[in-house]
Amino acid sequence: MTGLAARTRSGWRALIAAHRPLAVLLPASLLISWAVVLVHGDALPPPANTGLLADVLTALAGSPAWQLVWWLWLAGALVIMEPLARRYGVTDLAIVAIGAVLIVSPVSFWAFGWAGTNGPLIFVGALALWLASRYADGRGSGWWLVLCALLAGVLGVMAMLAFLLALLLLIALAVMRREGGLQRVGFAVLAVLASLVLPVLGAVLGLGAIPGTPPVPGGGPLGALRALSRLFDSIIEVGLHAVATSVTGLPNAPAYLYQPLGWVIIAGVVVAFLQARRSRPEGPLAVAVASTVLLAGPLLLLVLRLLYGEWLVIQPAGSAVLLPAFLLVGGTVIRNRASAWIVICWCGFLAVLDVILAAAGTR
């Protein structure tokens, strides 16, 4: 018995030693996420849910039990991001830094403080990237990516962005490293299409909320020039800008305190692209993420136009699905301990602020 206890203890120690970033991030995320859930009121509505489950999740959003359970999506995303980040050469301290940003970002404030579609979307963002990276390394089957995409479609059309990124990553690997080739890219295309199956079904059956609003109140046709302008604006409305400038939106909340998180995200994505090299492990990922920043908005807008017959202004909240990818490339450019510690300390400060805001600003 004593031997078993000792073996168990040493097993735990070994596990913690192997996953030091998670040993810090998981308890911290549980503490902060649950603190927010337990102290917040319901004076302000959380971001609107999308997809076939929108109505169900909106009904559950107010239930404290479900809100507590929603931390599991955050924990799942963190668990996936650790090996993923290591695969792209991110140091353990930088993993803690990007994980901390994920935990305290204004996107997560709503995504894991209430039971909505954004929590699972963030998880899907991390999972799709993990599956694509494993597939690119020759481990695992492409069918997992397709299956995951099919199921993720239940969260709405925004889930497509995660698989678009996976597709661009596999294309970047094929072009930059001559790795993979047509078969892998073919599976990724299939995954993108699979992610659209349930949203198409929802649109046909009239189920689920539309992830956007008409640019002209009441709807109506746009001229060719306005439609072109919408496509152009969607580059900014979806993805990097939407995630990096997100705020809690609570009355009297100091939005400028969250802006440094946006700087880290923007600097990570842009600098990773500026530095991208064929020879570096993170090179194809940096190019894929940068391409996603450019293509996600227009492609999503075109898909929504096909599904709903309107040029919409896309809700920025759904861009949360790309947050894990943005943070991951951000981790690859954090090259010194001082910067990582500054990010971690600032996140610690914001964690306290998150809880205070939840208590004071949502009642």
Partner: protein
């Protein structure tokens, strides 16, 4: 193909002492100057008599009255030319203001801000330069006096770019990366409003670049610190915002001293270190004192030159009470907004410039995140980040102390820090495709500004 041609040319003529050698060695600067000057001069010549919304009418009024009265007095009304510009030509993009063109323009209270000039805060030094040089440029056939004054902005830009290039040479990074980042700055909204109209921000770009270059040379023991003091004092005769560049220089020199190896002997750690710190620090400290003394002296002169007016100035309507939120917002003002802020914000136009904000954030923050991997000068990377974050709140507090009033500082007040941003961003561009993408983006923005200028010229014709 172009890259190959340039490499071949460089290899063949790099040692040539003549013009071809100059071209081979400094082609990034020459390409940048050619495109930047051609672009801003084209914009200037496309402009009509309609004025920029960034107080151009005040500056034109100053220039118009310069030889007659020397300075603008506190409490003085805008003159006839300025009122005519308001009423008959308008302010881009807002349109005509004040009484209907052709009617009586004599009542100043019919004009924005009660018809008062806000030019009294500026010493006349920069206006002497603009007037002398601009009048000469105006003599070129087809240019005219107003375009001549506006073309001085192109010269401030060119001067600033030369010193930005010299800074990049000190860091041993130039090439297409320099061209791409420099042209992105030129093609920004900041570039449009500052370098193609009469603007007091344009010389701040030049002086910011000059000060940073002098500081880097001083840190390397290659130039006397007195130059820093002299240029800072000169800058203070232009605009108080020069203080942000002087602050950058101070932080840079402190960090450069702190991060430099100082030897290991006990003596070296004691008195010699203090001496080396003082040797490094006296120029920026004296520069700050000089800049503040110049501004203080001008405030006294301004008070002495005050003239009585029949009406009370309503101010510009931008003053706000000092608050924690105001200071807090200023911490993020320069980093995200300096080169991308659009006047006015408009759907479809604003989005086009948001990537410029990304470039500044990526360059300034990324240079520190990547340390020590990409570090031609670690002190520079850290000091530029510190300056971009801290300068605006410090300037806000300084203005409160100096004038008693405050307004949210426009991000363009950080223009003197832009050369620092360029210096830390250029070394980050290691990906050829990124450089090409940035070049294409810059060229597209330039084309858009030229098209917008044509539209403005037609609207206000």
């Amino acid at each position: 193909m172009t890259g190959l041609a340039i490499r071949t040319f460089h290899a063949a003529y790099a040692d040539d002492p003549g013009f071809r050698g100059l071209l081979a060695r400094h082609w990034p600067l020459l390409v940048t100057l050619l495109v930047a000057a051609g672009y801003t001069a084209t914009l200037t010549l496309l402009h009509t008599w309609s004025v920029s919304p960034i107080d151009e009418v005040v500056y034109i009024d100053y220039l118009d009255k310069l030889w007659r009265q020397g300075v603008i007095h506190d409490g003085e009304y805008l003159g006839e030319l300025a009122r005519n510009l308001y009423a008959c030509h308008g302010v881009i993009p807002f349109g005509r203001m004040g009484p209907v063109c052709g009617t009586d323009l004599g009542d100043p209270s019919d004009f924005p801000f009660g018809g008062f000039s806000s030019g009294a805060g500026y010493p006349p030094v920069q206006f002497w330069i603009v007037r002398v040089v601009g009048d000469a440029l105006g003599l070129i056939p087809g240019v005219g006096q107003l375009a001549g004054w506006r073309l001085v902005g192109t010269l401030w830009l060119a001067g600033g770019l030369v010193f930005c290039y010299l800074i990049s040479r000190l860091l041993r990074v130039t090439g297409w990366a320099f061209v791409a980042v420099a042209l992105a700055i030129v093609a920004s909204p900041l570039g449009y409003w500052s370098f193609s109209f009469v603007s007091t921000d344009a010389p701040m770009f030049f002086l910011g670049a000059l000060l940073l270059w002098l500081a880097m040379r001083h840190a390397r023991g290659a130039r006397s610190g007195w130059w820093l003091v002299a240029v800072s004092a000169l800058g203070a005769t232009f605009k108080p915002t020069i203080i942000v560049a002087v602050g950058l220089v101070l932080v840079y020199l402190v960090l450069h001293w702190a991060l430099a190896p100082h030897g290991s002997g006990r003596g070296v750690r004691g008195a010699q270190r203090v001496r080396s710190l003082l040797r490094q620090l006296w120029p920026p400290l004296l520069s700050i004192v000089a800049a503040m003394a110049v501004q203080f002296a001008w405030r006294r002169i301004q008070t002495m030159l005050q003239v009585p007016s029949e009406t009370t100035s309503p101010g510009q309507g931008v003053e706000v009470p000092l608050s924690l939120d105001l200071i807090g917002n200023q911490f993020t003002s320069f980093l995200g907004g300096t080169i991308r802020m659009v006047v006015p914000e408009a759907e479809g136009v604003t989005s086009a410039f948001i990537p410029l904000g990304w470039l500044v954030i990526a360059g300034v923050v990324g240079a520190v995140l990547l340390l020590p991997r990409v570090s031609p000068d670690r002190a520079l990377s850290i000091s530029v980040l510190v300056a971009f974050i801290v300068a605006a709140p410090v300037l806000t507090l300084a203005l409160v102390l100096a004038t008693g009033g405050i307004f949210p500082l426009p991000p363009r007040y950080g223009i003197a820090l832009v050369p620092g941003m360029l210096a830390v961003t250029v070394p980050l561009l290691r990906n050829r495709w990124a450089v090409r993408a940035l070049l294409v983006y810059g060229v597209l923005l330039m084309a858009a500004w030229i098209a917008i200028s044509v539209v403005f010229a037609r609207w206000f014709a």
